[in-house]
């Protein structure tokens, strides 16, 4: 089922009643989510991603704009008529019911020709439990399960009615690091297996990038960029997106362009023939640095951190907007890391220029 958001806007009345102006939680969101895809809504807290999810679920109704499931306009449908499954951030499993009862609960609401016998419900619940691999815990209470298992039960409960769209609100935020890695793969597998269009909300860019078919980066209710994770990472449309994606984060410098050459402080680091003269924010991904004895960029070496496969070089540069820059290099490049000064050359594809005022990306290629 494809999900279409057509100029969806949600405004809340201002908490401060003296201010008449509404708070715009989601502003003019337009996007067609392809059938069977896994979409991550990504942004810092308060960016409107959860509101967007609730608008799709029907728990909130948009102030303006339409929401379509396939060709059907569901904007005015209440949640139960939309055919969605929603997994809550805290799972919202009914604590007084066993796992099996929790999963069967939505089936118990079916009336008329859809009404199921208890045996049918049990069979269906076991089917779904097998899919999310919790069939061994059917008679336990949620409090007797680990966080990851509770999450699976919540997904099973959302899936048992075979919803048209599955929505997950911060599905991994209550799990520890190891479980998070495992569960996100699990979500990916379940989504692939069922083929249900799935939308999830997260503030963790790594989570969104690792399993999504496409990510939607939001800020203050406005969609910043939509695209495949790698594409958004490599080709951010503004400084916010560039800073938000990637660990370690992108290094930002105050740079200037004159006569088609990019300067970082005194260093003439790159040729950018198509960029007009002026000052810019220059973002350089950590993997965009190469250590060269004759490299154009001079930096003062502060530390070298070896973390398994990666070697990360921490250095100071006068034009850097933060105290230090961080470069990730291959282990075999570590030659010549004894001196106090280190010299880099830059990979042009990993360097992005942004307008100083609007923070919008300035293309270096024409």
């Amino acid at each position: 089922m494809k999900v279409v958001l057509d100029h969806v806007t949600k405004a809340f009345p201002n908490r401060n009643k003296k201010l008449k102006q509404d708070v715009i939680a989601v502003s003019d969101f337009t996007y067609e989510i392809p059938d069977g895809s896994l979409i991550g809504l990504l942004g810092p807290s308060g960016c409107g991603k959860s509101t967007t999810l609730n608008l799709i679920s029907g728990l909130l109704t948009p102030t303006s704009g339409r929401i379509l499931f396939g060709d059907e306009d569901v904007t005015d449908f209440s949640p139960e008529h939309r055919g969605i499954g929603l997994v809550f951030q805290n799972y919202a499993l009914y604590p007084h019911m066993t796992v099996a009862e929790n999963i069967m609960f939505p089936l118990g609401n079916l009336r008329g020709k859809d009404k199921m016998s208890r045996a049918e419900m049990r069979r269906k619940a076991e089917e779904i439990a097998a899919l999310v691999q919790i069939e061994a815990y059917m008679d336990r209470k949620p409090s007797e399960l680990s966080g990851g298992q509770q999450q699976r039960v919540a997904i099973a409960r959302a899936l048992v009615k075979m919803p048209r769209v599955l929505l997950l609100d911060e599905p991994l935020s209550n799990l520890d690091a190891r479980l998070r890695l495992q569960t996100r793969e699990e979500i990916h597998r379940i989504q692939r297996q069922t083929g249900i269009t799935t939308i999830f909300v997260t503030h963790d860019q790594e989570e969104a990038m690792s399993i999504s078919d496409a990510i939607v980066v939001m800020r203050d209710g406005v969609v910043q960029q939509i695209g495949a994770p790698q594409q958004v990472y490599n080709d951010p449309c503004n400084l916010f997106v560039a800073k938000f994606l990637g660990t370690p984060p992108i290094n930002v410098f105050d740079g200037s362009v004159s006569d088609g050459a990019l300067y970082l402080g005194e260093d003439r680091v790159l040729d950018v023939p198509c960029v007009p003269d002026g000052t810019y924010y220059v973002g350089i991904r950590p993997e965009g640095f190469e250590i060269r004895a004759d490299g154009p960029m001079h930096a003062a070496l502060s530390a070298i951190e070896v973390m398994g496969r990666d070697v990360s070089v921490v250095a100071a540069h006068p034009a850097c907007t933060t105290d230090t820059l961080r470069a990730i290099i291959d282990a075999d490049e570590t030659v010549g890391l004894h001196a106090n000064e280190i010299r880099f050359s830059l990979k042009p594809s990993k360097v992005c220029l942004f307008d100083r005022r609007t923070e919008i990306r300035v293309r270096t290629d024409k």
Binding site: S57, G58, L59, S78, P79, E80, H81, I84, G85, L86, F88, N90, A92, Y94, P95, H96, F105, P106, G108, N109, K141, S143, R157, K161
Partner: protein
């Protein structure tokens, strides 16, 4: 470790002393009195030890009347007040406007003086030379014959006592239940809503189990409170409760100690022990049931 536990006992000492003197000692004493036949508190003497006190109390028509009254009061007011409080609390938590106002209105009886409440009930129910009382006026509007609620048939008097008791205990129960309802996380309701759960099923399958610990707390304390009823009857029917056939067990104990027919601490103690045994049994039964039905 040794030092620590010594310290702990030292800190507990004031509480233990007070509880011991004012709670444990009298409790044990009452138990002893109840077996001492013909105990005289002035001369501190008694004739012998045995179960005569219990046999006397259990054959005393006044006690049997008090027992019957108390049981009726318990069986009617506890379920009625709890159900009514639940109904009102659910109503309160689902109205969008004027919630605070209604909450205040429903809580007012709790902070109102008991005597003032008694006065209001007099105006409502009492039949005097000048007026039949407000309720009788209403009844006669519907063509019914006026009833003397406070000095007439037993059923009428019991009805007024039950209404009074329910009205007195309602605010506290509403307060507890509204806060219990408010503490149920909205996500549970949202999850149920997305699944299209009918409202009745949400109430019986989600709301009730979630507030069941509080509900059982209210039922247990409600039983205990109703068994100890006394002041409500006094407020309505005066201190001569035996004549009014409206005495309660606690009233009987009081009468045996200080009433016109008083001066019998042995009988009073025996009645108190019987009350204790009844309350203990009911509470244990309640706890056993609640263990089965309260889930977390």
């Amino acid at each position: 470790m040794e030092k620590n536990s010594l310290k702990a006992w030292l800190y507990l000492l004031p509480a233990i002393l007070f509880l011991g003197v004012f709670l444990v000692y009298p409790l044990v004493d009452v138990f002893i009195y109840s077996f001492e036949e013909g105990y005289n508190s002035a001369s501190q003497t008694y004739f012998g030890i045995g179960t005569y006190n219990f046999s006397y109390v259990l054959h005393d028509p006044y006690f049997l009347q008090a027992l019957k009254n108390t049981l009726i009061l318990v069986l009617i007011t506890v379920p009625v007040s709890t159900a009514l409080a639940l109904l009102i609390s659910v109503g309160l938590s689902s109205i969008p406007h004027l919630k605070q106002l209604y909450q205040t209105v429903f809580f007012l009886p709790y902070v109102t003086n008991t005597l003032a409440v008694g006065l209001v009930f007099m105006i409502l129910f009492a039949k005097t030379e000048y007026s039949d009382g407000l309720v009788n006026v209403l009844l006669s509007l519907f063509g019914m014959t006026p009833v003397d609620f406070l000095d007439g048939p037993y059923a009428a008097k019991m009805l007024v006592l039950c209404i009074y008791t329910v009205w007195i205990v309602l605010p506290f129960k509403i307060l507890i239940l509204t806060s219990a309802l408010a503490s149920v996380k909205a996500d549970y309701y949202n999850a149920a809503r997305i699944d299209g759960t009918p409202r009745l099923r949400v109430f019986t399958r989600i709301t009730l189990p979630m507030i069941s610990p509080m509900l059982f707390y209210l039922i247990i304390t409600g039983f205990i409170g109703a068994f100890k009823a006394y002041s409500d009857a006094v407020a309505l029917f005066g201190t001569n409760l035996n004549t009014a056939e409206m005495n309660t067990i606690v009233g009987y104990v009081y009468d045996m100690l200080y009433g016109d027919s008083g001066g019998y601490p042995s009988y009073a103690s025996a009645a108190a022990v019987i009350l204790f045994a009844i309350v203990l049994t009911i509470t244990v039964i309640n706890l056993l049931i609640s263990r089965k039905h309260v889930h977390y």
